[in-house]
């Protein structure tokens, strides 16, 4: 059945597909797009990974359109309707201030996405820089940088993040900083390992003979090669970032009320969890689904981009 479909597809394949799948690309752009296209086809076959992608896309859409989607204002209190059970009007119920939980969850998606995005653009960049420099320069630089990396790796992440938040003061920005500080070391390790494999390659020697500086070689030739494995790792780590941020919020050290951060919402629902379970349960589901989405997506990406891995 599938073979038949493939045959009919290739018969009727539009010229753009042939252009993408050609064995003799005419330009670098064409080769890259072709590679991306084959990767996408592999990825698309993995149903779980597609589900993950959909969840992550849904998070982005919800975050972007929260004001349009939310039936109520996230901070609007209605003390006459406190702790309402899920039902019409308030699909997921209301919290102890009578605020609509669904609306708060939808707005909370913005905070989650912000945390994820901020960590994703800081920690891997720092790790990439440290790892590639250590790997390329070698010697004492390598030893010193990797020692520092090992020290940070030796810490339990959450405890270290707690200590940093304690030092910086509670708040969502500080939580992001603390998480970023604790999550760069694995990226440095990966980037260094990748750098070591290409360090003595001919194209690097060629670049050096042409007079390229170390900085230029690292930035222009080595870093781009490390990006694929880092992307996989970042995606897989995002679930952990979400969970840590939620944990900090739950302990009262992350986002502060009345911000609709999901972990803090669970903490707020904790007092009445035995009677009004939905107040704490709903944000937990949201965290669970989103981190599952990132995990599934990361797993699928690993299969496509980094087939060497387990």
């Amino acid at each position: 059945m599938r073979d038949k479909a493939a045959v009919t597809m290739s018969d009727a394949s539009p010229p753009w597909r042939a252009w993408l799948t050609t064995d003799t690309p005419q330009s670098r752009l064409q080769a890259r797009l072709g590679r991306a296209w084959t990767g996408w086809r592999t990825f698309r076959r993995n149903r779980l990974a597609m589900a993950g992608l959909l969840i992550v896309l849904a998070l982005v859409v919800v975050a972007a359109l929260a004001p349009l989607l939310a039936p109520h204002h996230p901070y609007e209190q209605d003390l006459a309707n406190r702790l309402l059970a899920p039902g019409p009007g308030h699909w997921l119920g209301t919290d102890s201030f009578g605020r609509d939980i669904l609306s708060r969850l939808l707005y909370g998606a913005r905070l989650t996405l912000m945390i994820v995005a901020l960590v994703a653009v800081t920690a891997p960049v720092v790790g990439l820089l440290i790892g590639t420099v250590a790997g390329y320069l070698g010697g004492w630089t390598d030893a010193a940088l990797m020692r520092v990396t090992d020290i940070f790796l030796a810490f339990p992440k959450l405890i270290l993040a707690l200590a940093f938040v304690a030092a910086l003061g509670p708040g969502i920005e500080n939580a992001v900083i603390a998480i970023a500080i604790t999550s760069w070391p694995p990226y440095a390790r990966i980037a260094r390992a990748e750098t070591l494999t290409v360090r003595h390659a001919d194209f690097i020697s060629a670049a050096r003979l042409q007079g390229a500086s170390s900085l230029r070689i690292i930035l222009g030739h080595i870093m781009p090669l490390c990006v694929a494995s880092l992307v996989v790792r970042v995606t897989l780590d995002m679930a952990g970032v979400i969970l840590t941020a939620a944990g900090l919020g739950f302990l009262g050290l992350g986002a502060q009320p009345p911000l609709p951060e999901w972990g803090a919402m669970i903490a707020a629902g904790r007092q009445n969890v035995l009677e009004q379970w939905w107040v704490a349960a709903m944000p937990g589901f949201a965290i669970f689904i989103v981190s599952l989405g990132f995990n599934l997506l990361g797993d699928g990406l690993r299969d496509v981009l980094d087939p060497k891995g387990d």
Binding site: I151, A154, P156, L160, L162, A167, G247, L253, L274
Partner: protein
């Protein structure tokens, strides 16, 4: 072999030093003035500067760090503002509770994770394999504190299978003398079987939830080790010899992955100590995690950093232990 172990210990010493440097620096960047915290904001300038000198805060940073190292080496982690006791004393008092929780959890994690991993490897691609993998993904995605709350809701409030939060029922509190600090053990030593069963009952839910957290990791590692072994020729030989499949899998293959498995379990033990921070908060478990969070919320920096230092050291110690075990037990690593 000895040389390599010494090298390992030296690198751990450097790591420990780094840990101390980090806790020291965190203590210095805190916006809380340690002098003001002691003398209060009504003290005159004279008292203030005298205490500042006594605490060594006028010294250059590296001298302060050396003083800090000397103090820690003597077991002086400072005074807790919250309990007005030495931090080390506090930490030693609460640590056994965390140890108890994490130990039971890792036993549960290994007891479920290893068979699950073996099953997934021997039935590769089967429904069980996929189910175990999916379960692992779910385990990595669920916030543990939320799972704890939902567990309490279901098993305590709705089904009444387990007692509520805390380490033991209030009526049993303070009945047994704290000899080891591990309540179940103390109760047995004192011959108080009622207290023992009650404490065990209280331990059940938090340790299962914490244990589930490590099942995923242990199962995944077991599966990949196992797949490696099952491809080896000695497995074929064992099968050709006519050994039963159970013996081939559980005795020959599992026997050969025992060493790396021990290191994996030791590592997940270290991670459980960390995971207990959130679990303890949910279950009102009077351990190190709860101590650190309570201290954090009352800005008791000595206690926070002391607790962080202890958890960090245990973490590093367990990592070292698993590394040494690996080198000692596995002839190939020598």
């Amino acid at each position: 072999m000895v040389k390599r172990c010494l090298g390992l210990i030296a690198s751990v010493a450097v790591t420990l030093l780094g840990l101390l440097l980090v806790t020291f620096l965190i203590g210095r960047v805190v916006p809380i003035d340690p002098v003001l915290a002691i003398v209060g904001d009504r003290a005159n300038a004279d008292t203030y500067s005298r205490l500042r000198m006594e605490l060594g805060l006028d010294l250059p940073l590296w001298r302060q760090f050396l003083r800090y190292l000397a103090a820690v080496a003597q077991g002086d982690l400072g005074q807790s503002v919250l309990t007005s006791r030495p931090v080390l004393e506090d930490v030693l008092r609460v640590f056994p509770a965390t140890l108890e929780l994490a130990t039971v959890a890792v036993v549960i994690g290994a007891a479920l994770g290893v068979p699950a991993g073996v099953l997934a490897a021997t039935h590769r691609g089967s429904l069980a394999d996929h189910a175990i993998r999916l379960l692992g993904l779910v385990g990595h995605s669920v916030p543990i504190f939320w799972l704890g709350l939902m567990g309490l809701l279901l098993f305590y409030a709705k089904l009444d299978w387990v007692p509520g939060p805390g380490r033991v029922d209030i009526v049993y509190e303070g009945l047994v003398e704290a000899r080891t600090g591990i309540l179940t053990l103390d109760a047995l030593l004192a011959g108080e079987t009622d207290v023992f069963w009650n404490a065990l009952h209280h331990l059940a839910l938090p340790s299962v939830i914490l244990g589930l957290y490590s099942v995923a990791y242990i199962a995944r590692m077991t599966r990949s080790f196992m797949l490696d072994q099952l491809r080896q020729e000695y497995i074929t030989t064992a099968r050709v010899k006519g050994l039963s499949e159970a013996r081939v899998v559980w005795r020959h293959a599992l026997g050969n992955i025992a060493v790396p498995l021990i290191t994996v379990i030791a590592l997940s033990y270290a991670h459980l100590l960390e995971g207990s921070v959130l679990t303890e908060t949910v279950f009102a478990w009077p351990g190190l995690g709860q101590y650190i969070t309570n201290s954090l919320l009352s800005a008791d920096m000595n206690a926070v950093l002391g607790g962080t230092l202890v958890v960090g050291s245990v973490f590093i110690g367990l990592n070292l232990l698993s590394d040494l075990l690996y080198r000692l037990l596995d002839p190939r690593a020598r």
